[in-house]
Symmetry: D2
Subunit: 286 residues, 4 copies
């Protein structure tokens, strides 16, 4: 089994690295705050001294950090991944970054002789712990093949989507559909209740039919309770919808339903719900 | 166990009456073409000589015919249900009829002293056979209570929705959401493929996440195969979306996403796809 | 010059009848409250004793009342227009009525041997006084030809639009465009001001270019002053937009821009602005 | 009267410079291809040897070139405007450029000590010749005051709109409204004709009422003749609508009508009408 590195031991990263360790991988970890490495070292992981060091000593290095700036910082500079990766080794960035950052990182790694994959994930803490993430991999195909055994440990599916950028595109497409579904769901739930139907019954009937899905179930309960505790911040959804509509502009693909759902999310932004859960779009619909 | 009547032995009605019979109900059947009664009589059903006769001799009479005119015809005239129902007995119309017809039937039955429920169903042949229909009941609540054991045999759920008209409203709300979901789904699938993603992979990723639902799975396969074999005719969906938007007008409930999805279905009507499956909306999106 | 009758001497009708009188027509007037006839009788008009009487004694009788019920009442009963019109004489209803009422009146008049035109007008008090109304005439073409000299006195244009119903359709089409224009105008004015531009300058620049129109000028000033004094009630506009979108449904004509503008007006209805001017749609946009 | 420079003698620039000359300004001209200067020199203009030379010798230098690259090239390098402008003199770029280019040019000029205005125009050849352009000026206010006499010669209005960028924003706002108006106009014209009304009559009725505007008149005739000869290319309109909607995203200003009109223009792009006139949006509506 290959030796793997893991950079970034936040809530997600720690769970993912732990799964790799438990599956028998030889894991070397690194975190900006090194204290977070202890729990994994106790369970058998090695501790790297820098991203460069990890990249230089492992067949494949995975990274999971919180934002594009942090993802870029891991790769640059004298202690960065690019300085250590050398020829043939692989780097898999599983953070969610924008298209531009992903391409910059890809360039840094390949210029240094390394192989690169972007692999943003769909799923949060629980799926990370359970090894049931959805991993959207795109980039170097030979690296994808080499990383597959590790992906199989961390996720329940990890399709190879093509060249760098397609992981991000897939995420936009999926989130655009999510925004549209949430918008029509909010309208239906609101219309039904105004017509005198019981919200809970609407949810139960939906849940028994061909449209039944975990999101309607989960968000539906939130809407009826007027609970908008943030799980996926509304402003991030609106950003993704805007980018998806812009991608449609670029490809001459009309997207009227998405464009109008985007406007609903913008209305929610205007009303001050940017930091609440995506479910808060309901508040401007009802 | 109560004695029940069943009027209308088409594909749906025959399966539903058979389930009642198998569950031990004392069933009296009637069909415009009496030959269709034979199969059920062989298995122990009685055969009524007219709707009036059935209604007069059973505690509760169910009906399942193909359109509003047929539903109305069952109740009117010297041989109709209203002529036989008398005081206290119940009539449950499970056909899909418009609001006006439902109210006319309700009036005929209650004027004659009977109790009435509208109970349109969601689901087709297979769920009818399996006893897994979704039954949207509305009207007389005591009749609902009396009919519940029979509903439990025919369907997997049969919520009581309120006064006559609410069964139809629930169907509009649910179908409006279906139309909106199909519209955003078509846009996402089309955008993804134009961006170079693989349609099958998009479906698999959707099916692994919080939006996973049987409709995306079923219709998704149809879209990728360009198979628009009619299961739910597009023109019926467009009619329901139009009525849902009109209901929103009546209740001052803005429904922008639904209104725009309705326009997509109208575009499909204009393009000549009225009699194809609702999935054919994809053809005007892609 | 033909002898003409005029039924209904409200703000509009009095001004129109006066113009006919001043132009040399032989005018017989009638009003439910007969006192209103005095001013015209003083200037040379005859006073009829009932709608029947006027219709029986004039070549062409015009009517201008405030709503469909009043328009219908003029024609029905022993004293109504239909009772007096006889063969060959003409009746021109210039009130704004719905399609159904217009067809009922047409039927009453033609059954009685008369000829009928619907001729709703566009324009209010000032154009009525100035003889610059826009008259949307539809129905009997020979009557249109006979009424043309009178139309020329009352309006600045009076095109013949076809069979009964086309006057109402033209009004829907025109009002639908008005609603759409007002919606995009509100969005532009709001966007510009949020971007730091001066509202008055936006109006001046629009007024200098190819889009310059009296409505933007008039409503623009109202929007900037937050003055929504009712000239055309918002709820009537929303009704017309709803009917226009419904006409599109009937004709398989997609109308996405109109459908979305209709939703904006519905949002304004929901917000409680039904009785304010159509300009109040701006309040839900900004 | 101030000495003015004029860079760029294309169709627009030549007409504008000629108007300045005829009004008595002391004009120095320059063009990349110097032959184009002859006509103006014959009429009394001086000929500059480079942008730097013109900028160094005139109080205010105006520029009118065809695209952002050319506009930027005028300012950069040893022969560019920035090299010559020195302290206190003014530069007015009347070309249509994007926001980023405008800010780069502003930076180059102000770093060199000069004053800067962006002043994109609305209007084409004929208004340039007639001196009836609409000039959207933004940037240095003292320069605006100094340039006003020249603007008065070249245009019929030239409001001062604020800091650099506001000229471009005003253009987006105005063009967004134009796109929305064209979209609802196309829908109305199409609906009316499907309902059996005459297209020409619809145009005449619009032209007689409060919505009357030169654009409906001009484009309306084109639509009825199915003549889409390019005056304003559809792809440029779609770009402006996209940028306007993006500006709305940035400012949390919902723009549903504009977003949907944008989708109509995208549909026209998809259908292959990018290079036809904006009127060609009608082809995907009807």
């Amino acid at each position: 089994m290959a030796s793997v590195g893991f950079l970034g031991l936040g809530i997600m990263g720690k769970a993912m690295a732990l799964n790799l360790l438990n599956a028998g991988f030889d894991v070397t970890v690194w975190n900006r705050n090194p204290e977070k490495c202890t729990e994994l070292v106790v369970k058998g992981a090695h501790q790297g001294i820098s991203p460069k060091d990890v990249a230089a000593n492992c067949d494949i290095t995975f990274a999971m950090v919180s934002d594009p700036d942090a993802a870029l910082a891991l790769c640059q500079g004298p202690d960065g991944v690019a300085a250590g990766i050398g020829s043939g080794r692989g780097y898999v960035d599983m953070s969610t970054v924008d298209d531009g950052t992903s391409k910059t990182i890809a360039h840094l790694i390949t210029q240094a002789g390394g192989r690169f994959l972007e692999a943003p994930v769909s799923g949060t803490k629980k799926p990370a712990e359970d090894g049931t993430l959805i991993i959207l991999a795109a980039g170097d195909q030979s690296l994808y093949d080499d990383a597959k055994p590790a992906f199989d440990v961390m996720g329940k599916m990890s399709p190879y989507l093509g060249e760098v950028g397609q992981g991000a595109n897939m995420k936009l497409v999926v989130n655009m559909m999510m925004g549209g579904m949430l918008s029509i769901f909010s309208e239906g739930l609101s219309l039904g209740q105004k017509a005198g139907l019981d919200g809970q019954q609407i949810l139960e009937i939906l849940d028994a039919g061909a449209m039944a899905n975990p999101m309607f179930k989960g968000k539906g309960a939130m809407l009826l309770n007027e609970d908008y505790t943030t799980s996926f911040p509304l402003k991030h959804m609106q950003k993704d919808m805007r980018l998806a509509v812009a991608l449609g502009d670029q490809l001459d693909q009309p997207l009227p339903t998405a464009a109008i759902a985007n406007e609903a999310f913008k209305q929610a932004m205007k009303a001050g719900f940017a930091d609440e859960d995506i479910a808060a779009v309901y508040k401007v619909v009802k």
